[in-house]
Amino acid sequence: MKHKFITSTTVKAIFGNLKLALFLAFKSMFRGNKWALVLIIVVMAFSFVNLIFSSAIISGVMATMDNQIVDTMFSNVVVSPKEDRFYIERSSELVPQIQQVSGVAETCVHLNTTGFIEYGWKEKTLPWEKVKSGNWNIDGINPAQEALVTSIGHNMIEGRYLDEDDTDQIILGVEIAGGNQAQSSDFMTLGGVHIGDKVQVTYANGVQREYTIKGIFRAREMMVADHLAFVTRREMVSILGRSNFSDRASEILVKADKNGIEDSLASQLKALGTDLQVRTFKEYGGAYRSVISTFELIMGIIGGTGLMVAAIVMFIIIYINVLSKKRQIGILRAIGIPHNAVLGSYLIQALFYSLMGILLGWLIIRVVLQPYFIMHPIDLPLGFLSLHIESGSIIGSAAGLTFASLLAGLIPAWTVMRESIIKTLWGV
């Protein structure tokens, strides 16, 4: 069996060809048509911007949706009772333990139940007459502690947030209150109530209470948060029974001191007790997670299409370039310029176009687009959307574009180089 060793002669030949390829490539690019060079780089730049921008918008939508869920519903991690239990017992002992865990910033305790909320019940002439009403979840909260974990209190569109002493006041999500700012149809809400209006709540255990609407909030989390009502924990405990519920919790929301550590935080919290369930906010996704999965798929399709378009543009540019210089390529081959040096010069040109385009595109993103969207985020129903650019996305797009450009540059050059010298020179 013969082995082909890399000799110093071979290494010299490789470096010699590389030197020649660089020489031919840079002379061709910088002594040739400058406008064509600028145009190619600009086209590559906008191909790169398109790749990053479309994925950044979709990532931004996904991040906004995730942030909404974290800020308004579940925070980063939720501690809840085991599946065979309704409540966490001795929550006042558990909370300090949770606070001790590394990475925990704040916690808040919820005591939840469902309630039948009616508006205009006093106008009923018959007991079975239906007025604006519905069944919704009602959370008992410590307002001050809640404000440290969720953003409900910062999203009041009417009235004010709860105070700890409030016992006959309730705040409603906009999808319960109804009106112009609600997304739900009128029949699914209380028909447009306002602060100061009174509602009657019949709780699941049969207790009935009358409340004054203190505030209405719009958290922009249309699936769940805006369909919630809040009363103080003191009020909820009095509804459910002080003797049993004074130290119980339906769930404890845990806010991390930074995003992205949910999984490790959850692992640490699981060690606190075997009668607890610990889940990150992602596990509560439900419909959102399938929406996000859909967006990820769309992102992949857009990214793939963008790369294909960029590759086709590069292919056409290099192909026209090679065709217009076909005779020149024949001359180079005829005088003995190595095949690899000629091919290499076209690959170097393709690489140069893509790298310059990526650099220009990155500058456009960093200097123009990103600052613009920070100053002017897009106001969507689910929240304010700005560009969410991940370094992985930039590296991946740059690598993909470079590879596509090299391939697109290689094919036309290689096709012409395959022809005989006679045909290249004289067309026969």
Binding site: G16, R333, A334, I335, G336, I337, L425
Partner: protein, 203 residues
């Protein structure tokens, strides 16, 4: 149909040979085969004792680069390179010889174009372009220089300058030259004429 039929001849070192004949006689085909730009369907090409047809494509290219030189009929310079760069282009890949720029200037002086080294092909005349092509063909000190109708697209004065240059290279530098031409007057410049007719040597 065969462009060449049973062509058999030798060229001695230092000879200046012209291949002449009517259009379609096979003279350009013969030159291209001798210069390893094309392959014959049969026969043998021996250059310096080496059977050139047994070489692999890459080795044939290396052989052309190191041992043979070419001058084409027209438009054979690289437009983006100036005169000096066009001349030293074939020597760039040879890392062992990094004095190629100096050598290119010397050759340009021999062909009478030292004052044009920074000009581009579009800035010089057709005759001057051919002289640059000749200089390029000489940069790697080839054993044999092949010229395919080098004066076909030049006027009389420019043609004379080019042919005088070939003579000078042959006489002073003992350069072996094989030239295809259809001009009868070019006979006066060469040592020997090989006549072609219908793909054969016309003896």
């Amino acid at each position: 149909m065969h462009a060449l039929k049973g062509v058999d001849f030798n060229v001695k070192e230092g000879e200046f040979v012209a291949i002449m004949g009517r259009s379609g006689s096979g003279k350009s085909t013969l030159l291209r085969i001798m210069g390893l730009l094309d392959l014959p369907t049969g026969g043998e090409i021996s250059i310096d004792g080496i059977d050139a047809l047994k070489l692999h494509e890459k080795d044939r290219a290396k052989f052309r680069l190191e041992r043979l030189g070419y001058v084409f009929q027209e438009h054979s310079l690289i437009a983006e390179l100036n005169v000096l760069e066009n001349v030293y282009l074939p020597a760039v890949a040879d890392l062992a010889r990094n004095n190629y720029k100096h050598r290119a200037e010397e050759i340009l002086e021999i062909v009478g174009l030292k004052d044009r080294i920074n000009h581009y092909p579009s800035e010089i005349s057709g005759g001057e372009q051919q002289r640059v092509a000749i200089a390029r063909a000489l940069i790697n000190q080839p054993k044999t220089l092949f010229a395919d109708e080098p004066t076909a697209s030049l006027d009389e004065d420019s043609s004379k300058i080019v042919l005088d240059l070939f003579c000078k290279l042959n006489k002073e530098m003992k350069q072996t030259i094989v030239m295809v031409t259809h001009e009868p007057d070019d006979k006066q410049y060469v040592d020997r004429v090989i006549w072609m007719k219908d793909g054969r040597l016309d003896t």
